[in-house]
Subunit: 335 residues, 2 copies
DNA sequence: TTTGCTTAGTGAAACGGTTCGATTGGAGCC
DNA sequence: GGCTCCAATCGAACCGTTTCACTAAGCAAA
C-alpha cells in the first residue's frame, strides 16, 4: 500500500505538504492541492490510521466486550452500538468472552494494548478482584446490562426489578397465587434484581411466596425445562410461571407441552425479553421487553462523549435506566 | 499509560534493553530481565499494539463485514470466528453494513485504512463495480456465505443447492407434488442456488413445476406470510412448502395457522437453517441446517493462513463447501 | 533599495515501539 | 601488559503520519 512518501515523491512536493493538502489545513495553493489529490487517488493512497493514531495519541476504535454474541439480545445490541459509533467515524473491536468470566480481564488488557479510546462492556464477573481492576482502569468504560459492585462507572440498563414486578403484578391481577419464579444465577446482577422485583410484587399484594417455587435455572433453557417438569409433576403445582429470561420461558413452555399440560389453559407463562420470531411461537408469550435500541444508543453516545472530552473522563458517572414495556400475548389466563 | 521510555528510565537502562528484555530476545542478564519485568509490572506498562504494528508492518486485527449482525446466523458466525482468531492472538473489527450494499466499499476502505491483516466478509453486493473493487484489493479477503461473480477469492459456504434439493426430495418421497417454493431476491447468490436446487429436485423426479407456486419473498417473514396467505386462499392450493430461509418458514407457518389450516395436517412445511428457539416452535419444522461452526472455523483458519504467509497471499483461491444436515421435525406429513 | 507582510511550501521533531550494528568492560590467554 | 573474545547493553534508524517553526519568493509601501 502506498505511503505518504510515495505520494510526495510522485507529486514532487514535501511529505508535509501532502499531509497538509489532503487534510485541507495549511495554506497550500489550489493547484498544488489538486495535483496532490489526483496523485493520491491514482495511487490508491489511504492514510494509515495506525500511524495517525500514534501521532494524535488516540485512535478511533472502541472495544465492545460481551459474554455471548450468539445471544440475539447482544446481537441487536451490537448492531445498534455499531450504527451509532460508525456515525462518529469510529469502529468496533468486538470480543466475546464465551461466557468465561475469568477471561474478562485478559480481554480488557488486550483492548488496552490496542489503545482503544473506550470500552463498552456487559460484564459477567462481579467479584472484588474484578471491581478493583475496573477501578484502576485508565480508559473510559461504560457498563451495559450488568453492573459490578463497588465501581463508579457509567451504567446503562433497563429497570430489571420492574421487569419481573410488572409480570408478577399482571399475573396476580389475573388471580394467580401459586406463582413459580424461574431465576438466574444469583451472582448475576440482573438475576438478583429480577428476583427482587418478583418478591416485591408478591409482598406488595400480600401473596405468600412458596420457597419451593422460587427456583434457579441459570438463564438456561434446558435447566428451566427440568425444573418446570419437576414442579408440574408434584401435587400442588403452580398455576403460573414468571421466567426471568426468554430462554427459560421457552424451556418452560416446552416442559408444559411435553407433560401434557396446556398453556395458558393449565399454566400461565410470562417471560422477559423478546425472542426473535416470537410472533410465531404459539401461544404468543406475554413478556416484558427491554428497549435494546435505547440501551445501545445511550451507551454508544456516552462512550463517545467520554472519548471526546479528554478531561471530561473524570466527570461523575451516570446511570441510565430504561423502562421496559409489557407486551401482552396469549400465554396467560384468568384463574 | 506508561510508555517504554518510562520503564527504561525507571529501571535505569536503555529503551532497547527494555524491549529486548520483555520480548525475551537479546542476551540480557537474568538479573536485568527480572528487574525490568518488575518495573514494568509495577507501572502497569503494556506495549502499544499500534506502535508495534507500525514497525512490524502488520497488526493483529481482522475485519469482519456482515450485512446484519442482528441475524442470529451471523451472530453465531461471529462468535465462532472470534474464538478461532482469538486463539491466534488476533482481534476482530466488526462492521455491520445494516443491509446497505452501497456501504460495503466504504466499510472495506475503512478497514484498509486501519491496515487490518485480512477481511472476512459476507457480501451483499454482486455487481461488476464491486467485483472490480475486490479484484484490486490489496489485503487478503475470504468470502463467506455469499459469493461475488467475477472475483477469485477464498470462499466458504454450505452447499446451497443441496439444501433445497434435500428438502424437495424429502417432500416428494412423502408423496407431495404441488410444492410451493418461497425464495429470496434473485440478485442474492444464495437465493439463486437454492432455487436451482429446488428445480433440480423437481425435474429429477419428473414433477411439473407450477410457475405460480414459485414465489419470491425476499428472505422476509412478512412477505412470506402474504404470499402464502394468497396461495392458500386459491382453489388449487399447494400441499407443501419449501422455504429458502427460516424466517420465511416462520412467516409461512403463521399464515397457515391464521387461515385456519393446520401444519402438517393440511400443509407440510420445510425451511432452511436452524432457528435459535426452534425446538419450542410447534410443530417442530423440518429443516436443513448449515454447519455454522464449520463455516466460521474454515474462514477464520484461511484468513489466518493468508495473513501468516505474506507471499502465500498469492496462492490460488480455495473453496470450501460444507454439507448441510437434514433435521426432520413434525411439520411434514405423507399425502 | 530596504523593510515588512503574505503566501506557499519545507524540514525536522515527535508519537512508541523494534532491531541491528556499535560499544563497552571484563575475563582469559600468551 | 597487551591482545582477543564474549556477554551485556546502548544508540540510532526506522515504521507513517502530523505539526510547527521556519524559509524563500513575491510584492507593496516607505
Amino acid at each position: 500500500m502506498a505511503t505518504i512518501r510515495d505520494v510526495a515523491r510522485r507529486a514532487g512536493v514535501a511529505i508535509s505538504t501532502v499531509s497538509l493538502a489532503l487534510n485541507g489545513k495549511g495554506p497550500i495553493s489550489p493547484a498544488t492541492v489538486e495535483r496532490i489529490q489526483a496523485v493520491a487517488a491514482q495511487m490508491g493512497y489511504m492514510p494509515s490510521v495506525m500511524a495517525q493514531s500514534l501521532k494524535r495519541g488516540h485512535n478511533r476504535l472502541i472495544g465492545l466486550v460481551l459474554g455471548d454474541i450468539g445471544n440475539p439480545f447482544f446481537g441487536r445490541l451490537l448492531r445498534n452500538v455499531d450504527s451509532v459509533v460508525a456515525e462518529a467515524d469510529h469502529m468496533l473491536i468486538v470480543a466475546d468472552t464465551a461466557s468465561h468470566p475469568e477471561r474478562e480481564i485478559n480481554t480488557l488488557n488486550q483492548l488496552r494494548r490496542h489503545r482503544v479510546g473506550g470500552i463498552i462492556m456487559a460484564p459477567l464477573s462481579n467479584d472484588p478482584a474484578f471491581a478493583a481492576y475496573l477501578r484502576e482502569i485508565d480508559v473510559p468504560v461504560v457498563l451495559i446490562d450488568q453492573y459490578v459492585d463497588g465501581v463508579r462507572l457509567d451504567y446503562v440498563c433497563s429497570d430489571n426489578e420492574l421487569t419481573t414486578t410488572m409480570l408478577t403484578e399482571y399475573l396476580i391481577r389475573l388471580g394467580h397465587r401459586r406463582i413459580c419464579y424461574l431465576g438466574g444465577q444469583p451472582n448475576w446482577w440482573t438475576a438478583r434484581l429480577r428476583l427482587a422485583g418478583f418478591r416485591a410484587a408478591m409482598q406488595a399484594s400480600g401473596v405468600n411466596i412458596d420457597p419451593d417455587l422460587e427456583v434457579v435455572a441459570d438463564f438456561d433453557g434446558e435447566k428451566a425445562y427440568d425444573q418446570v417438569a419437576r414442579l408440574l409433576s408434584r401435587p400442588k403445582r403452580p398455576t403460573a410461571i414468571v421466567a426471568a429470561s426468554n430462554l427459560m420461558a421457552l424451556g418452560a413452555l416446552q416442559a408444559i407441552n411435553d407433560l401434557g399440560f396446556s398453556c395458558p389453559g393449565d399454566v400461565s407463562l410470562t417471560g422477559v425479553d423478546d425472542v426473535p420470531w416470537g410472533s410465531v411461537i404459539k401461544p404468543r408469550i406475554t413478556t416484558v421487553v427491554q428497549p435494546v435500541e435505547e440501551l445501545a444508543q445511550v451507551a454508544a453516545a456516552w462512550i463517545l462523549e467520554r472519548i471526546g472530552s479528554r478531561g471530561g473522563a473524570a466527570a461523575p458517572p451516570r446511570t441510565h435506566v430504561a423502562i421496559p414495556r409489557l407486551v401482552i400475548g396469549e400465554s396467560c389466563s384468568r384463574v
